[in-house]
């Protein structure tokens, strides 16, 4: 042993012990760090690691399909290849668009829609550039996909309307969920139902039955790697397909009527009086609902929106018109029920009626001679109703006409119904801050003046008349069929009210309406019909439904022509169908409107129901 060794040895022992202590202290620091992360922050990190590994992939639910009363499909789904871009993944969007343009044809229209949707949609949505591509185009794009980050070709379910323009106003259309849709959904707490879907019903049945048609989006909870590669599915919730709608509409009848209108404008509603089922719902001109699915381009939109024919107007629901002489049967019943007239009361019709210094002209300038109530309907004597209206006054008319549903919504299962105007002195006071003038009574009596009703109201009132005072709620959807459960939810006929009208008054008026088609204004149209028709023609002076039509010299003359109206039901004894229709600027009611009604009756009454069913 020497001093050197023992000295340094004890110094070494101290230094080694110091280091041992340092080691333990620093390991202690690590231990604290572990405990902090694994106990104190455990829940945070646990949640983060779950978030990390899981991606929810929405699986779109097929939208419910729509069938007509004979089971013919009128709205279904089909799939197509769509070229979609997720802009946030694309390094240089303009370059990508330009390159895609060299591969396949991408026109102005596609680009405009793309840019518009890009502004509207959520940041992470994929935006369609070409919603439908053919196989050759798919092939061209797919081989270049590896150098096009953010671009994808997806199979997409798209709404398909096999009959194109037919029934477009009835069906409405679906469209991309817009900013305002999204705000509305968020306010009504429905936003979560639209996770993973891009479309929503915008109009018509697609909108009105959105909740049933939509179904529920399914999802795949996928485990993913940091690089986004799918590893496996952790959980799968299958999408629940939307429910199918079976309509009371007869698709073939729809198309027959649409053809009958040709390029004329107008609206028609045909109802089954006993149930309120809508057999036909036509608005002409119509449009192709497929145009709207991914956003219509500006030029097409302008041409539809600015057309003087107003193809986008849902006429039966939202167009309101003076009913003209089709109003007379209801006036006649009001006269009898209010006790202001007895059936045998007569007036002399010289072709006009003088009220003060004002001459109210009859549509028959030569007059109809001595006219009683029945004749007033058969020959459509204006004079009879001028005098009746003068005697009743607007408020008594309002009281007896209102139960027929005029000036009120019918409660049909479509969103956006207009209520129209059934005037009263109170109404005028509120609307114009002016008292009712006695001189205004006369035009009310012949269905002119402030009277403004929808064709749906008119059809509903006609069906109520056919139903001898029992008013049914008009219904388009006959049943809602759940394809998951096979459950069929039938829409039960619903009585709105039973009008307190006497059978005697009904008999008298219906009898007169039958006579209209035998010897009166509708006689020629229904010559040879193997069923009896109770009807009433109408001719309404034009009150243009739009205010901002463009001046077009060639068309103006036509636009000033009277509207041609017709209401009818048949067979008169046991009504199966009631119809109200208008041919805008069609002229005399019997000339334009009644022949279309005959096609409806022939179709419904003479063809065996269900003869065209199936596909």
């Amino acid at each position: 042993m020497n001093d050197f060794r023992s000295n340094t040895s004890s110094d070494f022992r101290v230094r080694a012990s110091f280091m041992a202590l340092l080691v333990l202290v620093l390991f202690g620091v690590l231990l604290l760090r572990f405990a902090y992360l694994q106990i104190w922050r455990y829940f945070d990190f646990h949640a983060l690691s779950e978030d990390n590994r899981v991606a929810l992939l929405p699986v779109q639910a097929p939208r419910g399909e729509i069938f007509d009363r004979h089971g013919q499909i009128i709205a279904r789904n089909t799939s197509a290849f769509a070229l979609e871009i997720e802009p946030h993944k694309v390094p240089d969007l303009e370059e990508t668009l330009a390159f895609l343009g060299t591969l396949i044809k991408i026109d102005e229209l596609d680009l405009r829609r793309f840019r518009r949707l890009k502004g509207e949609l959520r940041r992470f949505d994929s935006i369609p550039l070409r919603p439908i591509m053919n196989d050759a185009e798919v092939a061209k794009v797919v081989v270049h996909l590896h150098r096009l980050p953010g671009v994808s070709v997806n199979v997409r379910s798209i709404r398909f309307y096999p009959h194109n323009d037919s029934s477009s106003h009835l069906l409405g259309h679906i469209g991309r969920i817009s900013k305002s849709d999204r705000e509305r959904l968020e306010q009504t707490d429905q936003a979560s139902s639209y996770f993973g879907t891009s479309h929503i019903g915008k109009l018509g049945l697609e909108q009105s039955y959105e909740a049933e048609l939509r179904g529920r989006t399914g999802f795949d909870r996928m485990e993913i790697t940091a690089g986004g590669r799918m590893v496996r599915s952790l959980e799968r919730r299958l999408p629940i397909p939307g429910k199918n709608l079976r309509l009371s509409i007869d698709g073939e009848l729809q198309r027959t009527i649409e053809q009958a209108y040709g390029n004329r404008r107008g609206a028609l509603v045909a109802l089954e009086p006993s149930t309120g089922e809508v057999l036909a719902y036509v608005s002409m001109p119509n449009f192709n609902p497929a145009l709207f699915i991914d956003g219509i381009d500006a030029a097409t939109w302008d041409s539809l929106n600015n057309s003087p024919d107003k193809p986008l107007l849902n006429r039966p629901l939202r167009g309101t018109y003076p009913p003209g002489s089709t109003y007379k049967p209801f006036m006649a019943i009001a006269a009898l029920e209010s006790g202001k007239r007895k059936p045998e009361d007569t007036i002399n019709d010289p072709g006009y009626f003088m009220f003060g210094n004002h001459r109210f002209r009859d549509s028959n300038p030569n007059g109809n001679g001595i006219v009683d109530l029945k004749k007033s309907i058969v020959v459509s004597s204006d004079t009879y109703y001028y005098i009746l209206a003068r005697d009743m006054g607007v408020d008594l008319i309002h009281e007896y006409i209102r139960p027929w549903g005029f000036g009120q919504k019918t409660g049909i299962d479509l969103i956006g119904e207009a209520s129209g105007i059934l005037p009263s002195s109170k109404w005028k006071e509120e609307r114009f801050k002016q008292p009712w003038l006695p001189g205004e009574n006369m035009s009310i009596g012949i269905g002119q003046g402030y009277n403004s009703f929808s064709i749906l109201q008119l059809a509903n009132a006609t069906a109520t008349l056919a139903n001898r005072g029992v008013m049914m709620r008009p219904r388009i959807v006959q049943s809602i069929d759940d394809p998951n459960t096979g459950l069929v939810k039938k829409t039960e006929p619903e009585i709105v009210r039973t009008l307190p009208v006497s059978q005697q008054a009904l008999d008298l008026v219906i009898d007169a309406m039958v006579e209209v088609n035998k010897s009166g204004t509708g006689a020629r149209v229904f010559a040879g019909a193997p069923y009896s028709v109770a009807g009433k023609t109408g001719t309404a002076q034009v009150v243009s439904i739009g205010q901002n039509e463009k001046y077009n010299a060639a068309r103006v003359a036509e636009r000033f022509r009277d509207h041609s109206l017709y209401v009818a039901f048949a067979p008169a004894e046991q009504p199966k169908v009631a119809v109200a229709l208008i041919v805008e600027n069609g002229g005399f009611g019997a000339a334009a409107a009644a022949p279309i009604a005959r096609q409806v009756f022939d179709h419904v009454l003479l063809k065996k129901p269900g003869a065209n069913s199936g596909r």
Partner: protein, 373 residues
Amino acid sequence: MLDGPFISLFFGVAALSCLIVYSAGYDFQGRFLDHLRNLLLAFVIMWAVAYVSPTQLQRVAVPLFVLGVLLLLAVAVAGDTSKGARRWLNIGITRIQPSELMKIAMPLMLAWLVHRYEGLKNIRQWLIALLLLLIPTAFILAQPDLGTAMLVFAAGLFVLFFAGLSWRLVFVVLGAAVIGIIGLIIFGDAVCADGVAWPGLREYQRQRVCTLIDPMRDPLGKGFHIIQSVIAVGSGGLFGKGWMQGTQTHLEFIPERTTDFIFAAYSEEFGLLGNILLLALYAGLILRGLWIAIGAPTLFSRLLAGAISLTIFNYAFVNMGMVTGILPVVGVPLPWMSYGGTAMVTLGFGAGILLSIARTRSQTVQGFVLQRQ
């Protein structure tokens, strides 16, 4: 006889490493078998070196160091470049990384030097030691390989510490480090603000430290790995997600999950309890190493055993600190846990030296000859 406690602790770590490399390396063909082979290699080297006497080690110290420096020189002149760093030397059959050799050669050399002078007694001897420490470190730093340079430098520094480095200096440096770390924690946001340059450091080094302070500065870039690694550790909780059940591990969120970041995988699957076990094993190995050093019969073996024990600590602490986000990310493997042959060999060699010294100690304790060298 080999030192029983040390060997037992070594097998404890090796067993855990097999479990976790099997799990984390599941997606890599053959990684587990390679790891077993590496562990076996480490054990064989350890065993072989354990039967080399410290005297013989003393003889190879200088040649090994000279060879190491020459190889580093060769790397600087004609090394292979990979991932922007020139670290490898192609010697025909395989590529070697001379800086790894230095991790052992450095403490050997300095221990030899101190032993030769019988303690560093004057400023000249200190300067020579410092020069021997700095030359290889500078070479490795220039490759650049901050992690290895640090390990090599630290290994040498430990020798100098045990050789009697002034306590005052030790405390000044430790104190400065503590103040620096606290300062960085408090003023981190300010000094990491854009446009602030740090004197003496390069921009990427500043970024690395700043990313450590707040990984969210660059969550998808440099910060991503450390964030995901910390998530893995934290989501392990007290008991872990279970063997083979680590989602962060198996879903590729952990970078280098079988090598430098294997501790994140381990921690995710085995939780805090697993971490405590591993920490205890390492603490046991290091303390046993220091105990061996204290009882070593010669100055050379004392210094060497002390430095090697602390090198094991250095590896383990820096690695676990980096993985849990309290130290900057530097390429330091976790001893005997991380997959990879080079570190296995180096650390096996180091452990072998410890065992060799332990053998002379046991002779000492049993009252055999105390050789005067």
